[in-house]
């Protein structure tokens, strides 16, 4: 089985498409969460190896969720994603402990593997 991944994003359509493409590329999508709070709860319950985390969530932002995951000692590699242009603030992702950023429309198993191995 491939690497275990949790998708945290409030758009069901994106979660569906992301799951499809990541599963086709050999990832094991173990869960989906639609906001930051349930993302942190699911990550601590499912212990995924990778968390694909949307930057803008209804209850918080991806940076805060990344910090919470790190502070909670969850060892998952966090990859941030967004359909907005966030390239100028990617540095904040690094500070929050994320391993990288992939624009939503460029998501693929190859891009993800390049970041999380």
């Amino acid at each position: 089985m491939g690497r275990r991944i949790l998708i945290v994003d409030d758009h069901a359509g994106f979660r569906r498409s992301a799951r499809r493409i990541l599963e086709a590329h050999g990832f094991d999508v173990v869960g989906e969460a639609e906001d930051g709070a349930s993302g942190v709860a699911l990550a601590s319950e499912l212990q995924p190896e990778v968390v694909l985390l949307d930057l803008q969530l209804p209850d918080t932002d991806g940076f805060c969720v990344a910090c919470e995951l790190r502070d909670a000692g969850i060892p998952a590699a966090v990859v941030l994603t967004s359909s907005r242009d966030w390239s100028d603030i990617c540095a904040r992702g690094g500070e929050a402990g994320a391993v990288g950023f992939i624009p939503k429309d460029e998501l693929s198993g190859t891009r993800l593997r390049a970041l999380v191995g």
Partner: protein, 359 residues
């Protein structure tokens, strides 16, 4: 009567008049001055060199709520000057009497004054120095500018609200684009990418993805069309209100009747404002009022167009509740129109706007 007597009498009469002319003239002049001061719309208040009130006209009585008889002889500072400004006033008077230095005299200034009931209000004030042979007198002409200030404040607040609404509209547009069409297109990009990868290994799966992509694209196109219409309907640009409002009425779930809608074009801003107000009013009626029917009536007289949107709903709408109606009112005011809402509980809601349609 002899000629000499007549002459004498005439001479005496002439002589008498000569002696009394300055006195007559003074009486007439004083009477005229008093009439002017008494009928002046502005408050006229005169202070002597000791700072005491010596003149207090009827306008001052009305404005300040003090009768002249009660304040003549009292210190002006104690009667109309706000507490924290009294010392500066007294020092200014002492300085003038000692050095002749005038800081307030001869200028038009805006300051505050106090009414009999203790309330402070803004005034425009001009002080004239009456420098006669004796000690000087100071006459102040004061005008209550509370209403002007309130109107200025309302214009400022209304402008600020319009800017806020414009900002909020842009934020909502970004959100709608981001959450709607953009997410669909992102999903499509991923699905098409997967279809390309699987077209040879699993053509059936690829075809399914492509079918889904076509459906998703149609939905994105519909969403963008709706969004564009919401920003500014193309039919309003091409055909004016006569083209756009029937379309709006058809889309409303209520029974909407348009009455008196003329086909002549109006200025762009007037058409856009009427469209926007009618659109909001119909949305409100459908969402909140429980109405079944709405009448949108137009009336154009000379250079003004009046529009009334009347629903048969529950009423109770208020300019104070929420920002919707206030926003409409601001928008109408911004192009020189008037906006009224009548919405008693149980009697439906009438929104009436009047706009100048020739600039």
């Amino acid at each position: 009567m002899s000629g000499a007597l007549a002459l004498r009498r005439g001479a005496r009469w002439v002589h008498h008049r000569d002696v009394t002319r300055p006195y007559d003239a003074l009486v007439v002049s004083e009477a005229r001055t008093k009439a002017i001061v008494d009928s002046a719309l502005d408050c006229v208040v005169t202070m002597d060199s000791g700072g005491r009130i010596v003149e207090w006209n009827p306008a001052a009585e009305r404005c300040f709520g003090h009768r002249g008889a009660d304040v003549i002889g009292r210190e002006l500072a104690e009667v109309i000057i706000p507490f924290e400004m009294r010392d500066a006033h007294r020092e200014g008077l002492v300085r003038y009497l000692a050095t002749g230095e005038r800081r307030m005299v001869g200028r038009r200034i805006e300051t505050n004054a106090v009414r009999a009931d203790g309330t402070e209000f803004p005034v425009e004030l001009a002080i004239t120095l009456i420098d006669s042979a004796g000690p000087p007198l100071f006459t102040g002409h004061l005008r209550d500018i509370s209403e002007r200030r309130e109107a200025e404040e309302e214009v400022r607040a209304s402008r600020a609200r319009l800017v806020e609404v414009a900002d909020e509209t842009r934020r909502r547009l970004e959100r709608d684009l981001h959450d709607g069409a953009q997410q669909r297109l992102v999903g499509l990009a991923l699905d098409l990418q997967l279809a390309r990868e699987t077209v040879e290994s699993d053509p059936a799966a690829a075809r399914q993805l492509l079918d889904g992509a076509v459906g998703g694209l149609r939905e994105a196109i519909d969403e963008l069309r709706e969004l564009a219409r919401g920003i500014h309907p193309a039919v309003l640009t091409t055909h004016g209100l006569a083209g756009a409002l029937p379309d709006l009425a058809r889309r409303c779930p209520l029974d909407v009747k348009l009455d008196g809608l003329a086909t002549e074009r109006l200025p762009v801003a007037v058409e856009a404002t009427i469209y926007f107000v009618v659109s909001e009013a119909l949305t409100n009626a459908a969402k909140h009022s429980g109405a079944d029917a709405v009448l949108v009536a137009f009336d154009q007289v000379d250079d003004r167009v009046a529009v009334e949107v009347c629903d048969d709903g529950s009423g109770g709408a208020s300019m104070r509740a929420g920002t919707g109606l206030r926003g409409l009112s601001d928008r109408v005011s911004a192009i020189g129109g008037t906006f009224q809402v009548r919405s008693r509980h149980g009697e439906g809601t009438i929104i009436r706007l009047e706009l100048p349609c020739e600039w």
